[in-house]
């Protein structure tokens, strides 16, 4: 298979198949909700929908979102932005992606989904023996629920410590209600500047839902916020219930003394992330 086709195949699988850990989280959540409740109905529907999309190889959600590719730097000369762009155009033509790119000045639709700035391609440090390409697809409804706090925040009673961070995260979940297609997943960055805060928060969304944070303090904070957010009763799609979040993933970036940002990237239940390994021989 040519590289371009491998990337197109990565797009199709990402848009149509939930990662196993995310599917498991939805099924477990459905079992915890009362039979006959709206929450149970919604979660059962999401599980059936995800299974159907995977079977058909069609998008599990019509908002195929912003596409962000993380490419191992060893593949820089093979997986170029133009190769990725051609794969995106092909996937769009075949109905694996929505015509989802708008020029904000003219208001025109860019029907190929390819232009300067789209898709987003990051080249990342080499990792592991075989280089890989990772794709994250994140819909606009959930992106609209992402937010950034600057501590201290008197309205939340949030100071510059992990307790302050906790208050920000619960506020973000409460403000999101069901608008971002709950149950959601929080990717969080403590610190950084405004730009890299969002970058790190989004990177946290690439973690598996069942992993454990290597920093003990952050692992404890993740567990606590997960439990407390689910006690808010917002529930799937904001219709009430026990499942408001499927996961909380927290990272950090160094900050300057003047700034203390807490950045929350809210992801909907459709955790569309996937990695494909690409052998160097394929690149010749």
């Amino acid at each position: 298979m040519q590289i371009e086709d491998k990337i197109a195949d990565l797009i199709r699988k990402t848009t149509s198949s939930l990662p196993p850990d995310a599917m498991r989280a939805l099924k477990d959540a459905a079992r915890r909700e009362a039979k006959g409740s709206s929450a149970r109905m919604v979660l059962d529907t999401l599980v059936r929908n995800a299974a159907l999309a995977a079977r058909n190889g069609t998008p599990m959600c019509q908002d195929t979102g912003t596409l962000t590719f993380f490419v191992d730097e060893r593949l820089r000369h093979a997986v170029t932005p133009s190769v990725v762009g051609r794969a995106v155009a092909k996937a769009t033509e075949r109905g694996w992606l929505r015509r989802n790119t708008i020029d904000p000045v003219s208001g025109r639709s860019i029907d190929t989904n390819v232009c300067a700035g789209a898709p987003v391609v990051h080249y990342a440090a080499a990792k592991g023996a075989r280089p890989s390409v990772t794709l994250l697809m994140k819909g606009g409804g959930s992106e609209n629920m992402s937010r950034q706090y600057s501590l201290p925040d008197a309205s939340l009673g949030a100071g510059r410590d992990l307790e302050g961070v906790r208050r920000c995260l619960l506020d973000a979940v409460h403000k999101a209600q069901g608008y971002g297609c709950a149950p959601g997943i929080l990717g969080v960055c403590i610190g950084g500047d405004r730009a890299c805060g969002y970058e790190e928060a989004k990177m946290q969304l690439l973690r598996r839902l069942d992993d454990r944070n290597r920093c003990a303090e952050l692992a404890r904070l993740e567990e606590r916020v997960f439990k407390e957010a689910n006690a808010l009763g917002i529930g799937p799609m904001g219709l009430g219930g026990r499942t408001t979040l499927l996961g909380v993933k927290i990272g950090s970036r160094p900050r300057v003394p003047a700034s203390f940002f807490v950045t929350v990237a809210y992801l909907c239940w459709a955790a569309r992330r996937r990695t494909v390994r690409i052998d160097m021989e394929d690149c010749r």
């Binding site: 109905m41 998008p59 959600c61």
Partner: protein, 188 residues
């Protein structure tokens, strides 16, 4: 499970209660951000919404033969249309607004006044919703707004939704928002 079929009658819409599960069949017209702005700017409505349904939706479609096939479809977040929806409901005679996440008290008021209801579809359940679209009858503003924003005419069958805002002032979302605010205050 209540069944609703186009054209939707005022009496059957007024009989709905927040929380009711319904199946919607017949013509459903999509309209989202561009559509609402167009309406607010005084633009003409491309279809007759009287006794009809407006669906906040931007589908994934592919051309097939001379027509269109819907590959994925589902609701988009409705709160963005809060500034426009009450006037649209009053002017258009629409009976059902379908989306996700709920809408505000001004929309709730317009629903009561005009005999309209807001239905919540399951957000992102795009493969299942696409399977409910039997036929695409037409499309408007495709060139100007693109496929995700265009106004599509869908013929749907047994599209499952839950009544979110009814015509007698009840909102599922307002109740959850208030209860979760109280729960949040306890956690602080």
């Amino acid at each position: 499970m209540k069944r609703l079929a186009y054209p939707f009658r005022e009496s059957e819409v007024r009989a709905l209660n927040a929380g009711d599960a319904v199946l919607v069949s017949g013509m459903v017209f999509t309209g989202r951000d561009r559509f609402h702005k167009h309406f607010a700017d005084g633009g003409r409505l491309p279809v007759d919404f009287r006794d009809g349904a407006l669906f906040h939706c931007g589908p994934v479609v592919v051309r097939e033969g001379g027509g269109w096939r819907v590959v994925a479809a589902g609701p988009t977040t409705s709160v963005r249309e809060n500034p426009y929806e009450p006037a649209f409901i009053r002017a258009s005679g629409v009976r059902l607004v379908i989306g996700k996440g709920g809408m505000d008290s001004a929309t709730l008021e317009a629903c009561g006044e005009c005999g309209c209801a807001y239905l919540q579809a399951v957000g992102g359940a795009a493969a299942l919703t696409a399977a409910c679209v039997r036929r695409v009858r037409g499309v408007h503003f495709l060139e100007e707004w693109g496929a995700a924003e265009a106004c599509w005419e869908f013929e749907m069958e047994d599209f499952p939704c839950v009544v979110g805002l009814d015509a007698h002032g009840a909102s599922l979302f307002a109740a959850v928002a208030e209860a979760s605010a109280r729960a949040l205050a306890r956690l602080r």
